[in-house]
Symmetry: C2
């Protein structure tokens, strides 16, 4: 699937053990913007995607955790529909 595109934008979502949520959150925050609960997104260079993955591998437990990065060419290739109250759900306040 589209392996030859030059991706410069990404969505990331994770499902990781509670003990590691904080660390994973911090790594993601370094490269992307927090979007919602366990979802990040933002502009990111292919080189930084590699660094992001490297940093994530240091903090996740590969047997128990799951992280998925959806890479897009830019933020013009998708459309977004939001239902409900976005403001209530940045989740930033839940992470210390």
């Amino acid at each position: 699937m589209g392996k030859n595109f030059n991706y410069n934008y990404a969505f990331l979502f994770y499902d990781v053990g509670e003990k590691r949520v904080n660390k994973v959150f911090k790594v993601c925050k370094k490269y992307l913007s927090h979007f919602q609960k366990s979802v990040f997104r933002g502009e990111i260079t292919p080189a930084n995607i590699i660094l992001l993955k490297k940093d994530l591998k240091k903090v996740i437990n590969e047997n128990e955790d799951f992280v998925c990065i959806i890479k897009l060419m830019n933020d013009n290739v998708y459309g977004e529909e939001v239902l409900g109250n976005k403001q209530n759900n940045t989740g930033e306040d839940l992470i210390i």
Copy 2:
């Protein structure tokens, strides 16, 4: 952002109150494939995106819940990177 594209593929992620998770899950499952925890994805026609939103609006609490649909033209416009154990995390067994 790309409002004029013909979108035929979508990612959906939700953050909804525990009481409504089951209902939201069932609605999403009707239109998309369960991908991971609170994330669905799959081919979907523009007409069905409208129906999906209509069905979701019936079951969510718009003040407390949040659902985001990311629409893409097709599954060729994104690349995917997965870290960790995907098999452990379909989450289907968690929903009765």
